[in-house]
């Protein structure tokens, strides 16, 4: 289960993720972001209620980071220790901006 709550206006988009970002839900986030990133310069992903991430989720984050590198910034907020550990072993802490 993944719930995506979007807010923000104009050039700013905040996506709060709730639940699990895994093989079955990653396509949902990918589709949701695909149509929403045009004209966005400031993307914030709020992980406060994200419990779990697998490599399928990492792939979506990597693709989104590449898009945002071309047009603005992407920041992850409220990342839990367990998820941060997954970012560390995969080298994603160097790619992503985690606040």
């Amino acid at each position: 289960m993944l719930n995506i709550v979007k807010s923000g206006e104009g050039e700013k988009l905040v996506c709060a993720l709730e639940g699990r970002l895994d093989t079955t839900t990653a396509p949902q986030l990918e589709a949701e972001l695909k149509g929403a990133l045009d004209d966005v310069k400031d993307l914030v992903l709020d992980f406060e209620k994200l419990e779990y991430i697998s490599s399928a989720g990492l792939r979506v984050l990597l693709a989104t980071q590449k898009v945002m590198n071309q047009q603005g910034t992407m920041v992850l907020k409220n990342v839990s220790d367990v998820i941060n550990e997954i970012f560390e072993v995969t080298g994603f802490t160097d790619i992503l901006t985690i606040e």
Binding site: D22, S54, L58, L62, Q65, D81, V82, V89, T90
Partner: protein
């Protein structure tokens, strides 16, 4: 305990529920459970995606616990094409986003997060086993998280 399911991604949640139920019954710490779930997902989805080139095959999942120190061993057995995922080259995790590909991350995560990963091809089947200690202080070859990361 053992379960056998069709090797389809649709069964992922069923597989994780089967594993988690036993981890919970054995008082597995939450963070260890999450790491095991991530590893189990990567392995199961790989088998579901690549093991059987035609038709739907099956995967057997065996969960066994050890005491002193407390650990779990989970074995995935399939009859698909012989494939040792541990031979796959690790991705370069130091590259910047633009140069990072999307492949190889899953197996790499399994190798990094589990205490032991073993592959064996026998009786016409792939056997992939992961082993994880519940408590870091029992790790036989690494004494701290820092050392583990530099391995």
């Amino acid at each position: 305990m053992k379960m056998t399911v069709d090797a389809t991604v649709d069964n992922l949640n069923k597989v994780l529920a089967f594993i988690d139920e036993q981890l919970e019954a054995n008082n597995c710490p939450m963070r260890v459970m999450l790491e095991i779930d991530v590893a189990a997902e990567e392995i199961f989805v790989n088998v579901a995606s690549y093991a059987y080139t035609s038709g739907v095959g099956s995967v057997a999942i065996e969960v066994n616990f050890e005491d002193h120190p407390k650990a779990v061993a989970i074995r995935f057995i399939d009859s698909g094409i012989p494939y040792n995922p541990l031979e796959k080259e690790d991705p370069d995790v130091t590259l910047p986003a633009e140069k990072r590909g999307i492949g190889g991350l899953g197996v790499f995560m399994v190798k990094k997060s589990m205490d032991e990963v073993a592959y064996e091809y026998k009786d016409g089947k792939n056997h992939l086993t992961i082993r994880k200690f519940f408590d870091r202080k029992h790790l036989p070859f690494m004494t701290s998280e820092k050392e583990k990361k530099t391995c």
